[in-house]
């Protein structure tokens, strides 16, 4: 009984000890915050990757690609049978995209992906990342009238057919003015054009680039070469560009992150891809942007461009080619991913087929490993902070034991056992650890619960943005609280406090009562 009473009394009267566990409190709180935020990021990333990537990817990196995809698909169906939830074929080609902005050509390097919209949506959430609501329902490479601004807070209100027609009118007026003056363009007029209103010209380039009207490949244009392409009524083959390709995320005057579109749905872009062959030649073609892709994974958003599969196959190989470079497989949720992948590997041995068959986890392995390592490193560092706090507790405890030497002698003279004295100080350490990590737990959870408000407050106070939205494509800081992780953190902190109290407690227990009583 006296152990509990004294332990509680010491807890209430020794403020120095409470001060020594502040670092435990802060360590626990920080660890909880860091772990929650990291888990939140990881979860967010995981979800997005799951949406973008199929479960299993069969890739061929040869120039030919997979020349007979239909046969391979049949075999895949035979091997995996009921495990398959979705199946699609793609062509991946490195490409260069150029579009006009003012009197400058903007160049972007992209990973051009030829897709079949219907089957592609069965392996991932591709459609969900498009801006136009109709395309989210059913993806199609056609230009919509308008309505691209649903997710963009009116920043993309001028897009689609409306934008295209306006631009054609503007360009025609511009050209008339040019020909009338026959002078260099009025500089002030050109400069006064707002950034967002791009004047990308497609077919009627003043540069000597090929016009769609005389497209030598006859693929991008829906018209025969003898017909004149009327951009106000017709479009080239549709292309979907990543939001990072067509826009720049910057701060507006009010300091909010905003996307400035250099190119928007309705504009024409020029795409250059290498032809398949021993000596790759550049193949140019015109496309019309029909939608913008925003997965919020900046790596994908700034690299991906999607176009219809048959057109890309024709461009890359020959008209009517069926070659693909990858087959994506989505499995049923209950299917065993590793086993399915292994079956495929067994059936398509690498020495014969030279396919790369990988699960999405393996593909993203380095990314996950990096995040995991970051989390582990942070945890180790933060736990070291708590361990350092443990030494603070150790020192404070020694002080308290020295201060309490006489009391220990009294207790022993009254019949308290050494074990009893030991347990007073051990339970004192335990209580301190519990109080310290308990307060840290509450602080940490409060912090996590209000993290966005705190970020805003810090932003308001310091003028620096804590969570840069031009870098992260999140509106808010994502957090997830894993009770098990928190349990480990709290248990670890309490254990450290307990360990730190072992030595002083042993010293207290071993005190000779006679010496202790004589101590003044």
């Amino acid at each position: 009984m006296y152990r509990l009473l004294l332990c509680l009394r010491y807890l209430r009267t020794r403020y120095i000890a409470l001060a020594s566990i502040i670092s435990v409190t802060l360590g626990v709180a920080t660890m909880i915050v860091v772990n929650s935020v990291m888990a939140g990021f990881q979860q967010e990333m995981y979800h997005r990757l799951r949406g973008i990537l199929a479960d299993i990817l069969i890739e061929s990196h040869s120039m030919e690609g997979i020349a007979n995809p239909e046969e391979v698909l049949v075999e895949v169906r035979n091997i995996l049978k009921d495990d398959i939830a979705g199946l699609t074929t793609n062509v991946h080609v490195p490409a260069m995209i150029s579009f006009r902005l003012g009197d400058q050509w903007q160049i972007r390097q992209v990973n051009l992906i030829g897709i079949q919209p219907e089957s592609y949506s069965t392996v991932g959430d591709f459609g969900q990342y498009l801006l136009h609501p109709e395309n989210r329902k059913q993806m199609d490479f056609v230009l919509r009238d308008k309505g691209y601004d649903e997710r963009m807070n009116d920043r993309l209100d001028e897009a689609g057919w409306v934008h295209r027609r306006n631009r054609v009118v503007f360009e025609q007026a511009w050209e008339r003015q040019e020909s009338l003056r026959d002078l260099s363009p009025d500089a002030s007029n050109a400069d006064s054009e707002p950034m967002g209103l791009d004047s990308t010209e497609a077919s009627e380039d003043i540069d000597s680039s090929p016009t769609s009207g005389s497209d030598p490949f006859g693929t991008a244009s829906q018209l025969g070469p003898e017909n004149v392409f009327d951009p106000s009524k017709e479009i080239h083959t549709g292309i979907v560009l990543g939001i990072g390709v067509v826009s720049v995320r910057q701060r507006n005057a009010a300091g909010q992150a905003q996307d400035f579109f250099l190119c928007r749905p309705g504009d024409d872009v020029k795409v250059t891809i290498p032809s398949a062959g021993a000596k790759p030649k550049p193949i140019h073609s015109n496309f019309t942007v029909v939608d913008v892709y925003e997965s919020k994974m900046s790596e994908y958003d700034s690299n991906f461009a999607f176009m219809p599969l048959p057109e890309l196959q024709s461009l890359r190989w020959y008209p009517g080619a069926k070659n693909v470079t990858s087959i994506q497989i989505k499995l049923r949720p209950e299917a065993d991913l590793g086993a399915a992948c292994q079956k495929l590997r067994d059936h398509f041995p690498a020495e014969i087929f030279r396919y790369r068959i990988e699960t999405w986890r393996e593909l993203q392995g380095p990314l996950f490993a990096a995040v995991r390592m970051e989390t582990n490193l942070l945890n180790i560092l933060l736990f070291l902070i708590i361990a350092v706090a443990g030494f603070g507790i150790l020192a404070t405890f020694f002080m308290i034991v020295v201060e309490k030497t006489r009391d220990i002698g009294i207790l022993k003279s009254l019949g308290a056992s050494s074990r009893g004295i030991l347990s007073i100080f051990l339970s004192y350490g335990l209580c301190l650890g519990a109080v310290g990590s308990g307060v840290g737990l509450v602080l940490g959870l409060l912090f996590v619960a209000n993290i966005n408000r705190i970020a805003n407050a810090i932003e308001y106070l310091t003028g620096h943005e804590v969570f840069d939205q031009t870098v992260y494509y999140f509106q808010e800081i994502p957090t997830i609280i894993h009770p098990i992780t928190i349990g480990w953190i709290v248990a670890g902190a309490i254990l450290i406090a307990l360990l730190a109290s072992v030595l002083p407690a042993l010293r207290a227990a071993r005190l000779n009562p006679v010496e202790a009583l004589r101590y003044e």
């Binding site: 009984m1 006296y2 509990l4 009473l5 004294l6 009394r9 010491y10 009267t13 006489r406 009391d407 002698g409 009294i410 207790l411 022993k412 003279s413 009254l414 019949g415 308290a416 056992s417 050494s418 009893g420 000779n512 009562p513 006679v514 009583l517 003044e520």
Partner: protein, 262 residues
């Protein structure tokens, strides 16, 4: 000391007392039975590599119900002897018997129990725990002997006994005060009440008046004498003050580590 409660409380049967499991029978001093017997006690301290002999063959017998005062000069080993009798320390040589049993070679846990149940100790510097109230200090010995559950079960009775003891020493109104709020005499009275809490057979007092002015010291002495007379409590007291020592039944002088009867 004006202490109307003391005689009444200690003489009469104190009701509602929680008796410890290993309770030793209430002191029935007949002045004949030998309660404590120490023979041939040697004790040497080592200080900085040098051996300092303190006790060199002490023989001491305390009869049941006797009030023995040990006097001697500072450093003569009287406190050491008291600590040995109270099993706080073990002699290098010699035998200490309590009620006919050797206690100097008991294992630590049994010595702890003995100190808790059979001995009451009073010190020169009162030695109350500063974190506890007066009442908590008084019931501390039962808290030590009982677990949390055992204490809570008997809490009411134990605190009643503590209150009675506090009343007996005239400090009932101070029960919620902390030791630092008490005067020296009050602290020593609390310490005596604490020593009596578990109904000890033997009260060991180490300079109980050493830190008090003459009058307060006398009050404490009266209290001890009354305990001895009314209760038949056996008391061994260490003092350097021969005036104080004279009030005991028997005075033993320690000179150069040996006993000289007076």
């Amino acid at each position: 000391m004006s202490n109307p409660f003391l005689n009444q409380a200690l003489a009469g049967d104190i009701k509602g007392t929680g008796t410890p499991a290993l309770r030793i029978a209430r002191p029935q001093g007949d002045g004949q039975t030998c309660l404590v017997d120490a023979s041939g006690i040697f004790k040497t301290y080592r200080k900085g590599g040098r051996e300092v002999p303190v006790l060199r063959g002490v023989d001491l017998t305390v009869r049941d119900g006797e009030f023995v005062a040990i006097v001697g000069q500072s450093g003569s080993g009287k406190s050491t002897l008291l600590h040995l009798l109270g099993t706080l320390d073990a002699p290098d040589q010699g035998i200490i018997q309590f009620e006919g049993h050797r206690i100097d070679i008991l294992p630590a846990s049994e010595r702890d129990q003995l100190r808790n149940h059979a001995f009451g100790m009073v010190f020169q510097f009162y030695h109350l725990l500063p974190e506890l109230t007066t009442l908590e200090n008084v019931v501390l010995p039962t808290m030590i002997s009982r677990g949390v559950w055992g204490y809570w079960r008997g809490k009411r009775e134990l605190e009643a006994r503590g209150m009675e003891l506090l009343e007996a020493v005239g400090l009932a109104h101070r029960r919620t005060h902390r030791p630092r709020e008490l005067s020296g005499g009050e602290m020593q009275r609390t310490a005596v009440a604490r020593a009596l809490m578990n109904r000890p057979r033997l009260l060991l007092a180490d300079e109980p008046t050493g830190n008090l002015d003459t009058q307060t010291g006398q009050e404490i002495m009266k209290m001890l004498c009354s305990l001895k007379e009314r209760e038949g409590l056996t008391i061994v007291m260490v003092t350097h003050d021969s005036q104080i020592a004279r009030q005991a039944d028997r005075v033993v002088r320690l000179v150069e580590g040996r006993v000289t009867q007076l």
